[in-house]
Amino acid sequence: MMNKLIFGRYIPGDSLIHHMDPRAKLLLSFYFIGIIFIANNWQTYIVLFAFTLLAIMLSGVKWSFFINGVKPLIWLILFTVLLQVLFSASGGHVYFHWGIITISQLGLINGVYIFCRFVLIIFMSTLLTLTTPPLELSDAIEYILMPLKAVKFPVYEVALMLSIALRFVPTLMDETEKIMNAQRARGVDFGEGNIFQQMRAIVPLLIPLFVSSFNRAEDLATAMEARGYQGGEGRSKFRILKWQSRDTWATLSFVALTVVLVFLRG
């Protein structure tokens, strides 16, 4: 069931985008989501789509992954678009009017724009997660949070928690699978019956999982302490992030994109 999940998956590759600095990728993805809202006419949306598709082509990841990324959210998107189309204030030519429902030219155009925004945001964030290993993302987050140290935010500790959490995701998934199978062998039906029966069936999965997580945490803490872990301060770092010329170029291309968008904006 977990294999279908596209979100947060990483596809190993050897492209320009794969080799970019994760900080650059993370910040630029957020920046991209910001500048999507500059776009307000069809020229600007075409530029944004062209830019996104170019980035996807550069990554060398198959198209189907991006389509699959949109699929689980398609109903949410259509619902939002529908609300926008049916209930937005009238403007331009009115095609249909009944009670509070108005389908107008402006409403339709806004609906299309919202659809485009959703798709662009999903494409870009999927591109980020597909081309960046979770580990690099957590490094990037640590780096970006660094200024918060000034307000006594425990950056090292949060980064360590994040990387341990990421490292244990597959281990816990395996364990979940194992416990589920063990409980099935003893006659527990998962996903059967009404909502209450289903919830009750989860208990023999959840409690062993919790207990074993506690045991794991204790073992891990002991092992960490035995290996001299005394907290974030005074540690050296094995992995370091390197800003390269390609990251500068990527940033410049986003600047250029912003200029073009502002210029084309109606």
């Binding site: 794991r216 891990l220 092992a223 302490e225 035995a226 290996r227 005394q230």
Partner: protein, 280 residues
């Protein structure tokens, strides 16, 4: 030979225990530098508690522990932990890093080793345990034996003087176990390493210089593997298996064959059998 570990009248009890119910009772022993000592005993005899006392993971109720000339106390504990490397039982639960190389580097990061030196030491340690090709792998994609070898590589990189194996091979298959033991032997040959292994594994105990038998929190016996293995069937009660040669001897004895009382290695047993049959 200088004593690297000196334990004197060590008592320990867990917080939930009453004053007279001790997990460790008046334990005293010392280990010479470069020695391989096996600690054996049945489940719940206090072996692991003893190991955790040695590097200050647990604080003793009374008694002193001296490691390499330093008495264990709150001030010296981090310095002593630098000298002691510990490998635990469950390979999954002690894997801190997100990848193999990260895990090996974890101990070095804690010591604040500069990055250039860290890279060299991590690469060398991975090579020594034959895991260089796996440096960027995630733990979820490794077998138990491989994870345990990564844990060892972490120890090699940190260069401790003492290595404590807390049932480090108990969750491995015979092949993984043999690999880990070979790696430790190689580490021992390479440097003046002292090894304390807590084990139920007879091969691991047999490769030790000395065996300590712990029973119900007390140090019952100590001697060379040959002296301990002479106990024959009693070994099972100590939480150890019988060595193959001992089992063969017991089986021969049941058949009415006169067998020597002394412990024989497999080779010694083979020699003795040859002699026996050639005398007829």
């Amino acid at each position: 030979m200088s004593q690297i570990i000196d334990v004197a009248h060590l008592n320990y009890r867990y917080p939930q225990q009453s004053a007279d119910d001790l997990t460790l009772k008046d334990i005293s022993f010392s280990v010479a530098a470069g020695e391989w000592v096996a600690i054996v005993g049945h489940n719940g005899s206090g072996k692991s508690t003893l190991a955790k006392n040695l590097n200050g993971l647990l604080a003793p109720a009374s008694g002193t522990i001296t490691v390499d000339g330093e008495v264990l106390s709150e001030d010296t504990v981090w310095n002593i932990r630098k000298k002691i490397g510990m490998v635990f039982q469950n390979p999954d639960n002690q894997f801190v890093g997100a990848t193999v190389a990260d895990d090996v580097a974890f101990g070095l990061e804690n010591q604040g080793v500069p990055r250039d030196e860290m890279l060299a030491r991590v690469a060398a340690a991975l090579k020594q345990v034959n895991m260089s090709d796996f440096a960027t792998r995630e733990p979820a994609r490794l077998s138990g034996g491989q994870k345990q070898r990564v844990a060892l590589a972490g120890m090699i990189a940190a260069q401790p003087q003492i290595l404590i194996l807390d049932e480090a091979t108990s969750m491995l298959d015979p092949r993984g176990r043999a690999e880990v033991l070979q790696t430790i032997q190689a580490m021992k040959v390479a440097g003046n390493l002292t090894v304390l292994s807590i084990t139920h594994d007879i091969d691991e105990a047999a490769s030790a210089n000395r065996v300590l038998v712990v029973n119900d929190g007390e140090l019952k016996e100590e001697g060379t593997p040959a002296e301990i293995f002479r106990h024959g069937p009693e070994l099972i009660k100590m939480g150890l298996d019988m060595p193959y040669a001992e089992r063969l001897k017991a089986a021969l004895k049941r058949q009415g064959v006169q067998v020597p009382a002394d412990y024989l290695t497999e080779k010694g047993m083979a020699d003795w059998l040859w002699q026996l049959s050639s005398n007829k």
